[in-house]
Amino acid sequence: MMPVFPAGRLNDSMNSGEIQELQTAAIAEIAASGDLSALDAARVKYLGRNGRVQDILLALREAPVDQKRELGRLANEFKNSVQAAVDERREALQSAASVAAFDVTLPGRWPHRGTRHPVTQIIDRAVEIFGQLGFTVADGPDIETPFHNFDALNTPANHPSRDPKDTFYLGDGTLLRTHTSPVQIRVMQSRQPPVRIIAPGRCYRPDTTDATHSANFHQVEGLYVDRKVSLADLKGDLTYFARQMMGPNVKIRFRPHFFPFTEPSVEYDFSCHVCGGKGCRVCKQSGWIEISGAGIVDPNVFKAVGYDSTQYTGYAFGMGVERIAMILLGIPDIRMLYDNDVRVLRQF
């Protein structure tokens, strides 16, 4: 509400509106002062012994009694806010003067920026996700016995995977593990159910290297043994994993398959995280991305480790780490993961 002023006040006295206008002008002038001397001139102009503040004080002295209170308040506010503006401006001008001018666009100086290998990143993420489901990490040697790599996994003596064309034998009765499944055997031999483990690790197969094959590669193995573990549990857990790893709407598809160590066996696919299953370049227009194999642990495997298959069932799955890294990170050639070119490593 506008203050109402009585008639008959002195013509040369300032009214309250004029005081406020003066205040605004003073603050603007102070803020615009380009150096300390300009600022000081402005200060003197408004707050000095002969400054404009004197006009206000004069008006206050000459004001009728009933207006003194209001004008007094305005006079105080004028002095305080103009002084604050002067102080603030002085601080800003002094601070600018205290730092030598420099080029803030120069490159930053901190040499350290490390990266984890894409394979490590995928393994760490898988360990983390399955960790949320209560899986612990298990480990086994790279050099394995045929018992752990084949026999205990119900692989027949004449099975093609045992052929030296498909397995590196070291000539002393040992071999380089062809999958991380022997870790299942080692874990089950050492403890009773329930078991929930994942086993990331290196595996080896004499595959000729090309864009999608590498003789040295990584798998993450999963094993869950308890009472009444089912294909539905497998699907549910893999779905959880896929959604955490690839994206929130990813689905799992099972296709029938055959492995000696699981019965029934499936191959599982993720629905394409890029196109959502509609078909795109990443999923080769199929809407699905083949990941790996899984199934219900064959009773013969339980027999080999001394588990009672009338009491327990379990599921097992594998997954190729490089494959997931390539799909998720868009790496076109598996060899790039082993070239260790810093121009590639820096990107992840």
């Binding site: 490159p107 100086r109 040499p111 350290h112 920026r113 490390g114 990266t115 984890r116 290998h117 490590t120 960790g131 209560g134 899986f135 612990t136 990490v137 480990d139 040697p141 790279d142 050099i143 093609p160 590196f168 070291l170 000539g171 002393d172 040992t174 403890r191 329930p194 929930r196 290196r202 004499p206 003789a215 040295n216 009444k228 089912s230 294909l231 539905a232 549990d233 699907k235 549910g236 779905t239 689905k251 799992i252 598809r253 099972f254 029938p256 398959h257 055959f258 019965e263 029934p264 066996s265 219900i296 064959d298 069932t313 082993y338 260790n340 070119d341 810093v342 121009r343 490593l345 820096r346």
Partner: protein
């Protein structure tokens, strides 16, 4: 094709007179196989090729007019064949629309059949699966006109190895007319990837695709004494197979022989000497069962993998042998004019009783994790061709047919139900997260994850190299470890012939490769297993390797001035010290230590509590030269296990000082033979416990100091945990430090 003449102006073109059923056209053609009398697909003026790439117009080729185009199979989108014009059977009248010749559009499904399901390597097997999915009856072709009666004359077939050949049937056919098989049969064979040859061979292949049972037809007139003997090959026996390659056989192999010589490698491939010719009149039709393992080894040894061997290796249906023979005989009668001679010779053991499997339905549901009614499961079994027997309530009892050798136990039936009912119907419930109290065992992975994140925090990029490496690369860094290396007996290549015994060689190669790619600096690490032969076999040791080159430790933009050896060595050393401290380990002691690949005098060993944890070296010049690296390269190799020992330990709070400290500097000139560590040791020994920190803040060498000497300056911090130290006290401590330095290290203390 009425006539073909050479083009007057082009060597490779022909001018053809073509009859299209209505008129004669002139067409210029470049195909090598065009000949008068042949029948070929003709695209007339106005026709567009299936891929839309070309609409045929009247044109002139080298001056000769052409009114159409004779087509190769690829141009019609029918196959990839561009070797010549697509040859059509001469039974077709000129002018027949091509659609009639090639038949209606068809869809070819490519199926991946898992090795446990040889029964599905056939149309009937796939049809049985579909019958179960759609709950429709399976309809096999009806066979008429071929008797199942058994011949009593067994002289036609003699089996010498009944384990390897458990069943052999032979039918004799006469009046056979060899010629092309019907177009529909040729088309189906070609779409299944089998080349059409003649009606007799095509029929055996066609029945194989139908039934999964490989068959073979012999020209009986080419068999000595017109009979067959199933026996092991004799040492040194040789045979030419149908693919015209010559093989030396041995007694591990099974052959079909006539009275004199082998005429087929059993289950793998027929011999050239008894194959069906145009003149063949009398045929001996073989349908048999051979041992899978034996066929596999023979096929491998001879390098011959055929449709036949593929099926026998996985296991043919011993009970289906005769039916397939009967089906083929029916087709030979129908399409090759054949007549049967006598009844079938069937040499076989007594049929084994069918396997029975019993079990509760509930177990199937439990393993699937889905509710499926008993009745539905029973229906699935029935449609899969399994014999459903009476069983107590809640249980099933099945009789397993011979073609399902993969079904041995009750758990094997789960997949049957899951597959037919639909794996898509299995739900994906929320995980049953059960907390495993043994999760604490995850210490090592957690510590290792911490190690990696500390390394990343220190600015290192992780690399990953193969576990295989070449001996040459290992030799380059260290020949001394040769006896401990673990070779791979059958390596993929010489580059991958031995397991790595150290991570340093590949780290060096990685740095060198990046240098060659114009990288100016790199700070890399790898964590990996190394392999070495110990007294009790091969030991796997997890190691950490760090590699640095270039100005990686410089914070400024000074990238161009050369990196000094001392500089990069100290960066690496500082890095390792920071790593150890962050991993919760005590400060290491560092002692000079020879390393095979190090520059003389530029390698050290780190110890914690007297245990060696690894080395740091500057790579020697000769190794660097291999990758033309002129700048110094630092390589550290540490054992991972000791780095993890304290990584997860809880740190306990220590009081921070309550009283002010007093700092005193000391500058001195010492001989170059006096090391920093010598100075620290002397200071520590001479000072009371109040000496809390020592910091080197200057090193100077120069003419003013003199040859073989240097000036060093340290700040020493004195503090008491119980009271405020006085200047006098600090001076007293500091004087005793100075005295010890003078006395023990002949240091010239620079006062003032």
């Amino acid at each position: 094709m009425r006539s073909v003449e050479k083009h007057p102006n082009a060597d490779k073109l022909s001018v053809c007179r073509v009859f299209d059923g209505e008129t004669e056209l002139q067409v210029v053609c470049g195909a090598p196989n065009v000949r008068a009398g042949g029948r070929y697909p003709l695209a007339r003026v106005g026709a567009t090729l299936p891929d839309g790439s070309l609409t045929i117009k009247k044109s002139k080729l080298r001056g000769v007019e052409s009114f159409g185009m004779l087509c190769a199979a690829d141009e019609l989108g029918l196959s990839g064949d561009h070797s010549g014009l697509m040859e059509l059977s001469e039974t077709w009248a000129a002018g027949t629309p091509l659609a009639e010749v090639i038949g209606p559009p068809d869809t070819v499904f490519e199926l991946e059949i898992t090795p446990n399901r040889p029964d599905c390597l056939s149309l009937i097997g796939i049809a049985r699966e579909l019958a179960a999915v759609y709950r429709k009856p399976l309809q096999k072709p009806a066979i008429t006109g071929v008797s199942e009666a058994l011949s009593t004359d067994l002289s036609l077939v003699k089996i010498e190895d009944a384990d390897a050949c458990a069943r052999y049937t032979a039918r004799l056919l006469e009046y056979v007319t060899v010629g092309p098989s019907p177009d529909w049969m040729q088309r189906r064979l070609e779409r299944a990837g089998i080349r059409a040859i003649n009606n007799v061979v095509d029929i055996t292949n066609y029945v194989m695709l139908e039934t999964g049972q490989p068959l073979h037809a012999f020209d009986r007139d080419l068999l000595a004494e017109g009979r067959v003997v199933v026996r092991r090959a004799k040492k040194g026996e040789r045979m030419q197979t149908l693919d015209e390659s010559e093989h030396e056989l041995d007694p591990t192999m099974l052959v079909i022989a006539d009275a004199v010589r082998p005429v087929a490698v059993a289950g793998v491939m027929g011999g050239a000497g008894s194959e069906i010719r145009n003149e063949t009149k009398n045929v001996l039709l073989e349908s048999a069962w051979f041992d899978p393992a034996l066929v596999r080894t023979t096929s491998r040894k001879l390098g011959l993998s055929t449709e036949s061997s593929y099926r026998f290796e996985r296991g043919a249906d011993i009970e289906g042998v005769e039916w397939a023979s009967r089906r083929a005989a029916q087709l030979l009668i129908e399409f090759a004019g054949a007549k049967l001679v006598g009844d079938v010779v069937d040499s076989r053991p007594e049929a084994a009783p069918l396997r029975k499997i019993e079990g509760p339905y509930q177990k199937i549901r439990d393993i699937m994790g889905i509710d499926v009614a008993d009745e539905t499961i029973r229906e699935i079994f029935t449609h899969l061709g399994l014999g459903v027997l009476d069983a107590p309530s809640g249980h099933y009892a099945l009789e397993i047919p011979s073609f399902r050798a993969d079904l041995e136990r009750d758990v094997d039936l789960v997949e049957e139900v899951a597959r037919i009912h639909g794996l898509d119907k299995i739900p994906a419930p929320s995980p049953r997260a059960v907390v495993d109290p043994r999760a604490a065992e995850n210490g090592t992975p957690r510590a290792k994850a911490k190690l990696r994140s500390v390394l990343a925090g220190l600015g290192l990029s992780e690399i990953s190299n193969y576990s295989f490496v070449s001996d040459a690369l290992l030799d380059l860094l260290d020949r001394g470890n040769q006896p401990k290396r673990v070779p791979i007996p059958r390596p993929l290549s010489a580059d991958h012939s031995v397991l790595r015994i150290s991570l340093a060689p590949q780290m060096t190669a990685t740095l060198g490769r990046n240098r060659a790619h114009q990288a100016t600096r790199a700070a890399l690490y790898e964590i990996g297993r190394t392999f070495e032969r110990g007294a009790d076999g091969v030991v796997e040791i997890e190691r950490l390797c760090i590699g640095l080159f270039g100005p990686v430790g410089r914070i400024g933009f000074d990238r161009h001035s050369a990196v000094e050896s001392e500089e990069i060595f100290l960066w690496a050393k500082g890095l390792i010290e920071a790593l150890l401290a962050t991993m919760g380990l005590d400060a290491p002691t560092v002692t000079p230590h020879p390393v095979a690949y190090a520059e003389q005098g530029a390698s050290v060993e780190f110890h914690i509590k007297g245990v060696s944890i690894g080395t740091l070296s500057l790579l020697n010049r000769s190794t660097r030269k291999e990758w033309r690296m002129t700048d110094p390269v630092a390589i550290a190799e540490l054992d991972v296990a000791p780095l993890l020992t304290n990584a997860l330990a809880v740190r306990v709070f220590h009081d921070i000082p309550a009283y002010p400290s007093i700092t005193r500097d000391v500058a001195m000139i010492v001989s170059d033979s006096v090391t920093h560590e010598d100075i620290i040791r002397v200071m520590r020994e001479a000072a009371p416990p109040e000496l809390s920190a020592i910091e080197l803040f200057d090193i100077f060498k120069g003419p003013a100091i003199g040859e073989g000497r240097r000036s060093v300056a340290y700040s020493l911090v004195y503090i008491s945990a119980r009271r405020t130290l006085t200047d006098d006290e600090a001076n007293t401590y500091h004087n005793s430090v100075k005295g010890a330095l003078r006395k023990q290290l002949s240091a010239e203390i620079r006062e003032g």
